[in-house]
């Protein structure tokens, strides 16, 4: 049996490898599928649903759904863009996201996603939840106001750092990222060099005292929209 799998995304024929998810195969082919919880070195999780595509006519999370021979995937359609916009807007109103003074601004995937999807202001009412800041660790700040529960830090701490510093606690609207200790992050073995700190898509998990060091204009998404790096691959392949 051949290891190559041929399928289409928005009518374009794509060759992927057996065992890849739609998202992975699309990435390799230079097709960007929006995502927030998926991250390259982390196992698929399927939490945010921003990567929702239509696979053979059914909505699926591209980050968890494996590719199959002849699969017909829709990605860049008006209907899916609307779904993604709605999801991202809900993420915005669910937390306390003040982009205008957040140090992650310009480097934030949630903000960049909103720009890419053309969200000006959320249509849903802000929930203004009361959330905590854990500044107990000498070098790390946790600001739950900005957490979108993507589980990247949970996975990275376990799989990349081998530590298990972060865990989800609570359910439904009370769900939050907790730490593996009595009370605070300072009681864990979290360290400023942990990979978990690199994967947070928003400004919820931060290294202290380095905010704003990169000037406006030099930040990750100041010039190019999120996903441009992936799309550049395709442009390269077409040349």
């Amino acid at each position: 049996m051949s290891d190559t799998i041929t399928f289409t995304i928005d009518g374009v024929e794509i060759q992927g490898r057996r065992g890849q998810t739609i998202l992975e195969a699309a990435d390799d082919a230079g097709v960007y599928i929006p995502r927030l919880c998926a991250f390259k070195d982390l196992s698929p999780y399927g939490a945010c649903r921003v990567c929702t595509v239509m696979a053979n006519g059914r909505p699926q999370a591209a980050c968890t759904q494996p590719i199959a021979e002849g699969m017909v995937v829709e990605n860049d359609t008006e209907q899916l863009k609307k779904v993604r916009r709605d999801i991202v807007e809900m993420l915005f109103v669910e937390g306390n996201h003040f982009c205008m003074f957040c140090e992650k601004s310009g480097n934030c995937e949630l903000q960049a996603m909103a720009y890419r999807l053309g969200i000006a202001a959320p249509k849903y009412p802000y929930l203004n939840p009361k959330r905590e800041v854990d500044a107990s660790h000498p070098d790390i700040l946790v600001d739950h106001n900005r957490c979108i529960l993507c589980a990247r830090c949970v996975r990275a701490s376990k799989d990349l750092d081998g530590k298990n510093v972060f865990q989800f606690i609570g359910r439904g609207p009370h769900k939050k990222v907790g730490v593996n200790a009595e009370a605070n992050l300072s009681d864990t073995n979290a360290d400023v060099t942990d990979k978990a700190l690199d994967v947070c898509p928003v400004g919820a998990l931060l290294r202290k005292r380095v905010g704003y060091a990169v000037p406006v204009g030099k930040r990750l998404y100041d010039l190019e929209p999120i996903g441009s790096d992936i799309e550049a691959k395709r442009a390269g392949q077409e040349k």
Binding site: M100, F101, E103, V133, A135, S136, L141, K208, R209, G211, Y212, A213, V214, P215, V216, G217, K218
Partner: protein, 478 residues
């Protein structure tokens, strides 16, 4: 509504986003002005909101406080955070970039105030119909002036963008330094229009000066009173809008204190709370709340400094001081002239900075021993701005206190309104003349009320006269 048998006349500007004000004139039984109260709703939520936030976030967060002078708050907070991280001795590049940002802000703010808000009063007279006496009227009758105002404002805003990253709500100043330098391309862009900006600043100064001198008869007494004056000055006594030590003088020019390290401002300045106002009343501790109030802003700075270190502004300062024989100038309407001297000073400073190779340096941040408490002061366009913070060992803000320029000028503005009311209220009828003059007097201080800086330069006013029983006798609105 009545208070102890007094009648109240209320002038109420239409509410907009940041803080708004209203004027209440209290009459006695003989219908004479007993007291005027300028109520300003100050946005105090910040001091609570900032609790628990990490200190490095504050210089950016605080820009949300005021849509009118965000750069001043950004820099005052950054100066406090320099002290927190022990980085108060900035690298030359960091200090000069911040100064460039600040002079850019001063330049655009003073240009905006003069051309959009004040020039209609000067060009058309206080009594001109408000339908004409606004920036649209200026644009129609003096199109060249209106264009200059817009271009000067834009120049200042571009300087802010080049130093802070954005025209509004930039991130340039960080604890202990700055996050970028000025590229050669950016510098050359500013040099191109520089001479024009200097030229226009000279002519704006001339308009303000000529007007003040020509109308001295009426202006000298208009809402004027003797007062103390306070500002930062440099160690050698020179005007310094970005940094220095606190100096206060009395109405005669005698020193009250001089070269006070502003980290110790609490030993010299206190704030009084009055039940009828949301805004506090700061005073010089040694003089007490009755006598200790003072003025800040362009007029105060001209009075406190012993010289200006740029040649054209210094020549202008000498002319300005000659008007009052070298004594402090206490004429409220002289704020406009003083403001234009600072406009010229700012562009002279910008010119010197643009020719300074330190702006292309790469050593941007310094740090030293961490501290838990810090004060940051700056001379904002409207006057001395105080930021005071305490930070816990987890790097979170646990206390913030701000004294903004307009708060420093609270008592003087109340006095100016009261004087104008005494001078121009006759009977219990509201006249256009009274409305106009109250507006002009408030505007001299350039308070950061959104109503005072209404887009068209027209302060929306509502005035009511109430008798002792609270019946409305007369009402006028714009």
């Amino acid at each position: 509504m009545s208070t102890n048998g007094m009648k109240k006349i209320t002038i109420e500007p239409v509410t907009r986003v940041e803080g708004h004000g209203k004027v209440t004139i209290l009459l006695d039984e003989q219908n004479q002005v007993k007291q005027a109260r300028l109520h300003i709703v100050e946005f105090r939520g910040f001091e609570r909101f900032v609790q628990g936030r990490p200190y490095w976030e504050v210089p950016v967060l605080v820009e949300r406080l005021c849509g009118i002078c965000p750069v001043s708050h950004h820099l005052a907070a950054a100066k406090a955070m320099d002290w927190i991280v022990g980085g108060e001795n900035l690298t030359p590049t960091a200090e000069k970039m911040r100064r460039l940002m600040h002079y850019g802000q001063m330049f655009q703010s003073h240009a905006l105030h003069f051309f959009h808000l004040c020039s209609p009063d000067l060009l058309f007279g206080f009594d001109a119909d408000v339908a004409i006496r606004n920036v649209i009227g200026v644009a129609a009758k003096y199109p060249a002036l209106a264009v200059q105002g817009v271009m000067m404002r834009k120049y200042g805003q571009e300087l802010i963008k080049a130093t802070a990253g954005k025209k509004i709500h930039g991130t340039g100043a960080i604890p202990g330094g700055i996050n970028k330098n000025l590229s050669i391309a950016e510098r050359d862009g500013f040099l191109k229009d520089l001479d024009q900006m200097v030229e226009w600043s000279r002519s704006a100064l001339k308009i303000a000066k000529d007007y003040t001198v020509a109308h001295l008869d009426t202006l000298a007494s208009f809402g004027s009173f003797e007062s103390s004056h306070l500002s930062l000055v440099r160690a050698d006594g020179a005007m310094d809008l970005y940094h220095g030590n606190l100096k206060a003088i009395d109405a005669e020019g005698n020193s009250i204190f001089d070269q006070v390290d502003y980290q110790n401002y609490l030993d010299y300045i206190r704030e009084e709370v009055r039940p009828w106002s949301y805004m506090k009343f700061p005073f010089i501790t040694s003089l007490g709340p009755e006598k200790g109030w003072y003025r800040v802003g362009p007029l105060a700075r001209l009075n406190t400094c012993t010289f200006i270190d740029t040649p054209e502004a210094e020549a202008a300062r000498k002319e300005f001081m000659a008007l009052t024989d070298g004594k402090p100038n206490n004429i409220t309407m002289a704020y406009h002239w003083a403001r234009m001297i600072e406009l010229l000073h700012s562009i002279e400073k910008i010119k010197a900075l643009l020719h300074d190779a330190d702006l292309q340096g790469t050593d941007l941040v310094t740090k030293g021993n961490r501290r838990d408490e810090a004060v940051g002061l700056i001379e904002a366009p409207r006057g001395t701005l105080f930021h005071h913070y305490r930070v816990n060992k987890n790097d979170q803000i646990v206390m913030a206190n701000l004294i903004v320029s307009t708060t420093n000028n609270n008592e003087p503005m109340n006095r100016a309104v009261e004087l104008v009311a005494r001078q121009h209220l006759s009977g219990v009828k509201i006249t256009e003349g009274l409305l106009n003059r109250v507006e002009v007097a408030i505007r001299a201080y350039d308070p950061c009320l959104s109503c005072a800086t209404h887009a068209l330069g027209k302060m929306p006013l509502e005035m009511e006269i109430l008798d002792a029983e609270g019946n409305v006798l007369d009402r006028k609105a714009r």
